[in-house]
């Protein structure tokens, strides 16, 4: 596989994604959503007391991104990270363009690599934009005030900001796991609806499984469990075991899904 070629494919895919309204809408919602949420918290009298840091949303601007992080793990991350990954491959089926793309000088492997990089890059950008917007919304709308962490320790604004940013960073591995799942669904089903919808459904099913009284070993293998790994960063002393475990599980999901997706694409006859 030639590196220059898959970088070329990546640039072509990025050009296609940037021309599509759905990607722009997803990013626009990622920017606007946190501000709307922060504004609503500011004007309403009640707070989401049953969620982590929900009680603090009117006291510290750094609680806003943490509440949004907890909420996004439920369904926003699977949707946001699948919007492009779940459509990049199946859109070639929808438009009938596989034969145009595969009759150029790039190999299937290079096409696959370029598309996957684009999907993972978009997921990273989308999570980063949502994170940045959440922090900005909290700081601007509520204020840059100290945050009381899960152990009751008061964190000064600078330290709180660092921990919030790290907490959001821990969401990236499972988010990329969902992107890989969307890529697999997109190639296997050749349907964008399935490519985007299946990761969401699977994510919700995983959330339900965590509520059941099943074996701990199985629950720890669920991708959604990794979204809660950031709790250890907001405790004193901090604990990292769930974070390490979640990163390993997420990496395994990425590896397995992308390997299966690659094999499916390589073996596929286009048309006929």
């Amino acid at each position: 596989m030639r590196m220059g070629r898959w970088l070329t494919v990546t640039s072509v895919e990025c050009a296609k994604v940037s021309a599509q309204a759905v990607a722009r809408i997803a990013l626009a919602l990622s920017i606007a959503g946190p501000f709307a949420f922060a504004a609503a918290m500011r004007v309403q009298t009640s707070v989401p007391a049953d969620t982590l840091f929900g009680r603090s949303v009117t006291e510290s601007g750094f609680a806003i991104p943490l509440v949004i992080l907890g909420f996004a793990a439920l369904w926003a991350f699977p949707v946001l990270t699948s919007v492009v990954g779940g459509d990049l491959f199946s859109s070639e089926d929808r438009h009938g363009t596989w034969s145009s793309v595969l009759t150029r000088s790039c190999t299937r492997g290079e096409i696959f690599a370029g598309k996957v990089i684009t999907a993972l890059a978009f997921a990273t950008v989308a999570v980063s934009v949502l994170a940045a917007s959440s922090v900005a919304a909290g700081v601007i709308v509520v204020g840059q005030r100290p945050l009381v962490d899960l152990s009751g320790v008061l964190r000064e604004p600078a330290e709180a900001l660092t921990r919030v940013v790290l907490a959001w960073a821990t969401a990236l591995p499972p988010a990329l796991g969902f992107t890989a799942m969307a890529v697999l669904a997109s190639i296997a089903t050749r349907s964008s609806a399935a490519g985007i919808g299946l990761p969401v459904v699977i994510g919700l099913a995983m959330q339900l499984c965590t509520l059941l009284d099943g074996p701990e070993a199985i629950r720890r293998l669920l991708l959604t469990a990794s979204f809660g790994a950031w709790h250890g960063l907001l405790a004193e002393p901090p604990y990292y075991r769930p974070l390490i475990h979640g990163t390993i599980v997420s990496s395994a999901y990425v590896a397995v899904c992308l390997t299966l997706a690659y094999r499916l694409l390589q073996r596929r006859d286009i048309g006929g």
Binding site: R5, H95, S99, S100, L102, R104, T107, D269, I270
Partner: protein, 329 residues
């Protein structure tokens, strides 16, 4: 000495489920040659094109493109190989120019990419629509855009799957002229078409496929030589009765001609007996004219029930095209 083949498919087989889409198909096209690929619907023409372009993997056999073994898993298409199958498709939300620019990037074009794109659009007559989103294109415009996408690869081997099927006569003529120019410049062009006149006009050599098997490969002249019986155009006072009588006569096959009258395939002795039988049955023969066998009639003979699975057609036809004066009026 003949130039080495630009395209070589040897013993190519492809199976979809229980159906043999291709069965040990051989096809060779040489530089500067326009090679026709004919066959009825479902014969395997498009499957062969897909295999040639690396879109489908053959179950067995070898494919060589410009001297390189085709391995779709290991490498993309060699430079200089281009083409399209079915109707060419593009991203509908992008303009024609943007679509081609992206495809040119996948080909590794860096410098002069925009010049190449503009040149390709001009060659297929789409320069005026370059900045229109493809979703607004007609089928014919998409077909021309498909050809423009192929031209970006400076083809020395070009596969065209029914390239004029959606075009108006003037546009079809332009595309045929373009294919001819490419062949004159040394490219090998493999052209699949349902339009017999198009193949007859453009192609010196052809391969006829039926049910995944090659039933003929050679020049158009060789195909004519293999015709079984001379063809005649017959006008009678009662065509339906004449067809019924033909059914009862050995060595005579009659069918309604597209332009009116009957097409009758028969050797001269059988034809004499048939004309006498018509007279006895009270069917008047108003005109009988010997016709050159059209490619279409030869094609139908090869791929029809009588031609399929039988031994090669015998008896070269003598003095074809010689018109015989009407015997009755």
């Amino acid at each position: 000495m003949a130039a080495p083949p630009a395209f070589e498919a040897l013993g190519v087989s492809k199976r979809y489920g229980q159906r043999d889409a291709l069965s040990r198909v051989d096809l060779i096209a040489r530089p500067g040659q326009l090679h026709g690929l004919l066959g009825p619907n479902g014969a395997g023409k498009t499957t062969l094109m897909r295999v040639a372009l690396g879109l489908a993997r053959p179950d067995s056999g070898t494919v060589r493109l410009l001297g390189c073994d085709l391995n779709p898993l290991a490498g993309g298409l060699p430079d200089g190989v281009a083409g399209f199958v079915d109707s060419p498709a593009f991203y509908p939300y992008l303009t024609a120019r943007k679509n081609l620019a992206l495809l040119a990037r996948l080909d590794g074009h860096r410098r002069w990419r925009h010049i190449a794109v503009d040149d390709a659009l001009m060659q297929v007559g789409l320069a005026g629509d370059a900045d229109v989103a493809v979703r607004g294109f007609s089928a014919g415009m998409r077909q021309r855009l498909g050809l423009a996408a192929a031209l970006l690869r400076s083809p020395r081997l070009l596969f065209l799957d029914e390239p004029t099927s959606s075009l108006d006569p003037a546009a079809a003529r332009d595309i045929r002229a373009l294919a001819r120019r490419l062949a004159d410049a040394g490219a090998a062009v493999v052209l699949s078409s349902h339009d017999m006149a198009e193949v007859e006009e453009l192609c010196a050599t052809l391969t006829v496929i039926d049910h995944g098997h090659v039933v003929f490969a050679g020049s158009v002249a060789e195909l004519r030589m293999r015709a079984s019986s001379p063809m005649h155009l017959l006008h009678t006072s009662h065509d339906r009765a004449a067809i019924e009588i033909a059914f009862q006569r050995p060595g005579v096959r009659a069918s309604a001609a597209a332009a009116g009258g009957l097409e009758v395939a028969a050797e001269i002795d059988a034809l004499d007996g048939y004309v006498i039988a018509l007279g006895r049955a009270g069917v008047a023969v108003r005109a009988l004219e010997r016709r050159a066998r059209t490619l279409e009639s030869l094609f139908l003979e090869l791929t029809g029930p009588s031609g399929r699975g039988e031994a090669p057609l015998p008896a070269p036809e003598a003095a074809e095209g010689a018109a015989v004066a009407p015997v009755a009026s």
